[in-house]
Amino acid sequence: MRRSIASLWALGLAGSIGLVGVATAAPSASARAHAVTITLYNGQHVQTTDALVRAFTRRTGITVAVRSEDEGALVNEIEAEGSRSPADVVFTENSPALESLQGHGLLARLPKAIRSATPARFGSPRGDWVGVTARVSVIVYNPALIRATQLPRSVLALGTARYRRELALAPGETDFQPIITAVAARDGTARTRSWLEGMKANAAGHLYPDNETVTNDVNRGLVALGVINQYYWYRLRAQIGARNMHARIAEFAPRDPGYVLDVSGAGVLAASPHRRAAERFVAFLVSRAGQSIIDRSDSFEYPLAKGVPAPTGEAPLASLRPDPISIAELGDGHRAVQLLEQAGLL
């Protein structure tokens, strides 16, 4: 009695494992059809990556398996994976993520030819990753709720009671951390913390998961203003059409710590078994062809290669007057995270 039921159960188990096999088989079979497949851990927006990946595969015949997630999660994954990481290339939105990987020795040194494609000040000081695009932080505001003249000149003003209940904030956005680091570099930890606490109070009820939501809700008139990177505004406009755009963007005063240039970059994993192919992908990202694709895409980020213009309608990169904080000073962002935790924003 029991034995036959046990064997039946074993049969069921085998059957369901077979089903697991079938459910798994489909994608890997199609992937095997191509000669080389590299895996891209993509912390960049899919808008930016999609067109690049397609063009690269068309050109080289190398397939790219894309794993898109928040850059923080990706860095965490790679650090957990260590030498077993399936990733060949990592492409992030901000420099701290790459600096963190570099600090753990997980990235391979890039050939000089790739590094020199974009200006050195936008790349890794050690040379393990290269800058691909840049964005600049701006104020997004809804003129129906706040007049342009009432906007702060400095990001520090956003922590004052003047902006109570008017501020939208996405504390979990990695785009926000460079601003914190910049403030902390200039004004020290204590002042930065009280500034963050002030912002938290001002943003009560308007703490959002991401900058897309900040932009969207400012545009819908739910909250007066927020701090975003400029391209969120352009993307929203592309999504919903110019006539539906009620929000506007404004710059902070030149060299204000709220006025930060965020660099997005890419690197090759030290453990990658496909280093040649991976380097070709990174090289493509910073090549003229790749940079032009970014320029024409719906990404609205600044291409960094010389001679590739800013996306249509945006101020040229060279005309910007951001806080002069360097990539090295921005570091791996752990100080910003600590400050966010201390202020109860994380």
């Binding site: 029991r2 159960w9 089903l19 489909a26 899919v46 923080g72 965490n76 994976e81 999504q239 109860g344």
Partner: protein, 536 residues
């Protein structure tokens, strides 16, 4: 002469010893016990891992015991309490209307009230929040969660009301209770265990919810755990925070068990006739409007919003996997996970149904703990464990994801398998054998046909949960694979609502099929029990 005159009725003679119930067989077969134990150990794995991970976290104390934690706890607690209360009111009210009143279109509502089960919380939240930006924060979360989760109360309460013994209500009426007091004191008391069980499920779901709150900008423990991982790159910290959540959930589960055990409201006999329906009279239009409103809010808004966004032309379509490929992928995962979960659940269910004992009960109950762990945490535990202890075996592979699904939804499969085994008590097998039929044939001719619908029900429950799962899928899916929910999520995150909408609709459709089938199965089961109870 002393008189010793006794008149004894035969029934007054009581046996000195009460024999053990012959039907609950004594010894548990060791093989079965070993299998069930193995399954339970596997299920406990993520919890144990979590403990280890949290223990090795640096500054756990600093992270867990700070003002922000209290804030999150407060956010989580008040929303859970409010939303569970709302779910209890909505679910019980809806069940009462359908099962006990002359509400028009009852058969339609009986199905429509269950369908929200198939709509992921984050799609309900998408529907409402894209309708109006004002739907956000605490009130938005309360609205969305109440509408998305109330079927978890509705289902058990409806079943309990359907099977409830009308005799008790009739007695109450005869003792001078009005209809309203009878409802409160008797009908609701009968449904008490069902309400409690449903409320517990609601609370657990709300505790573990991520997508909907993320969209609504409402911070809870679970959203913070996610953020902790994404921003702070801190698995130990996330594990420590998860433990708070797990502790909270264990308190809930234990509380529910304790309050259930205090008064055994088990019915001793089957009802002789179906309960009577109350006439709503002048309240009928109001009830109809209420029921329609609930359906409109829980199904109408999300589906209509999806339709609206699909009709909008967009200038910037994002690339992604095709709808067909995501559907096939999702369905494949659902089928495999459903089968695996049912197979894993069967030894535990068999043990707990056929060999009732303390050990069997403990084993069975221990598996419910997995309900208390958010899917995200289970996923992380699995992926980290595979890297750290498994040499990367199964990492980012579909089998690991499917295994995670099977773990996460194991309790659902267990419910289904348990129900089905209860449909096939051992006496049927014994009768069959006494009729000269061999073991193997008994299984094929008696046990399997009796058990199959329940197994299918367990399978369907797991399937629909897999289809609508988001967080574990995000963490564990193989690179390059998108399911309906992850593709929806990625479009939604980029505000590409028009592209997100069809994925939401297909997801709802795929999940709705089994949930309608489930509703019909449990309905038939109840009817059959009613019919066979009527002759007993």
């Amino acid at each position: 002469m002393a008189l010793d005159t006794r008149v004894a009725s035969p029934r007054a003679a009581r046996p000195a010893r009460v024999a053990a119930r012959a039907t609950s067989a004594g010894k548990v077969p060791p093989l079965l016990f070993a299998l069930a134990l193995a399954v339970c150990v596997v299920l406990a794995g993520p919890l144990v891992f979590l403990l280890l991970e949290a223990a090795s976290a640096r500054d756990v104390g600093a992270l867990v015991f700070r003002a922000f934690t209290a804030e999150l706890l407060w956010n989580t607690a008040r929303l859970t309490v409010a939303a569970v209360a709302a779910c209890v009111v909505l679910g019980t009210g809806a069940a009462f209307l359908v099962e006990r009143t002359d509400l028009p279109f009852r058969r339609f509502f009986a199905v429509a009230f269950v369908v929200p089960l198939a709509i992921p919380d984050f799609v309900v939240s998408f529907g409402w929040s894209s309708l109006s930006g004002a739907i956000s924060g605490f009130w938005g979360a309360l609205l969305v969660m109440s509408l998305a989760v109330y079927p978890l109360v509705y289902l058990p309460v409806a079943a309990s009301l359907r099977n409830g013994d009308p005799a008790e209500e009739e007695v109450a009426r005869s003792l001078g209770y009005g209809p309203w007091r009878t409802f409160l004191r008797v009908t609701l008391a009968q449904a008490r265990i069902a309400v409690l069980g449903g409320a517990l499920l609601c609370a657990l779901v709300i505790l573990a919810e991520y997508g909907a709150f993320e969209m609504l900008g409402y911070q809870t423990f679970t959203t913070e755990i996610f953020t902790e991982l994404q921003v702070a790159f801190d698995l130990n910290g996330a594990a420590a925070l998860s433990l708070v959540l797990v502790a909270l959930s264990i308190v809930l589960v234990a509380g529910e068990l304790a309050s259930r055990g205090r008064r055994g409201a088990e019915r001793t006999r089957a009802p002789r006739h179906p309960p009577q329906r109350h006439r709503l009279g002048r309240l009928r239009p109001i009830a109809l409007v209420g029921a329609t409103g609930l359906v409109a809010g829980a199904i109408g808004v999300p589906v209509a919003t999806c339709g609206y966004w699909m009709a909008q032309a967009t200038t910037a379509p994002l690339a992604g996997v095709s709808l067909a490929s995501a559907t096939a992928q999702t369905a494949g995962y659902g089928v495999a996970a459903g089968a695996l979960a049912v197979v894993l659940a069967s030894p535990v269910a068999l043990l707990s149904v056929r060999y009732q004992g303390v050990l069997a009960l403990l084993l069975e109950r221990s598996t419910y703990l997995v309900l208390a762990v958010p899917g995200l945490v289970v996923a992380l535990a699995l992926s980290t464990a595979s890297l750290r202890y498994g040499g990367g075996f199964g990492y980012q592979s579909a089998p690991l994801l499917i295994f995670a699904y099977a773990l996460l939804f194991f309790p659902l499969a267990l419910v289904g398998v348990r129900t089905s085994l209860a449909q096939a008590p051992r006496r049927f097998e014994e009768v069959a054998r006494s009729l000269g039929v061999r073991q193997r044939s008994v299984f094929r001719r008696v046990t399997l046909p009796l058990v199959a619908p329940g197994l299918a029900a367990g399978f369907c429950l797991v399937f629909l949960s897999v289809v609508t799962e988001l967080t574990a899928t995000l963490v564990l899916r193989p690179t390059g694979v998108e399911t309906l929910s992850t593709q929806f999520w990625s479009y939604q995150q980029n505000l590409s609502y028009a592209q997100a909408a069809p994925f939401a609709l297909v997801m709802v459709g795929l999940a709705a099929l089994p949930s309608v089938a489930l509703g019909r199965y449990f309905d038939r089961l109840a009817r059959r029990q009613l019919a066979s109870g009527a002759v007993a």
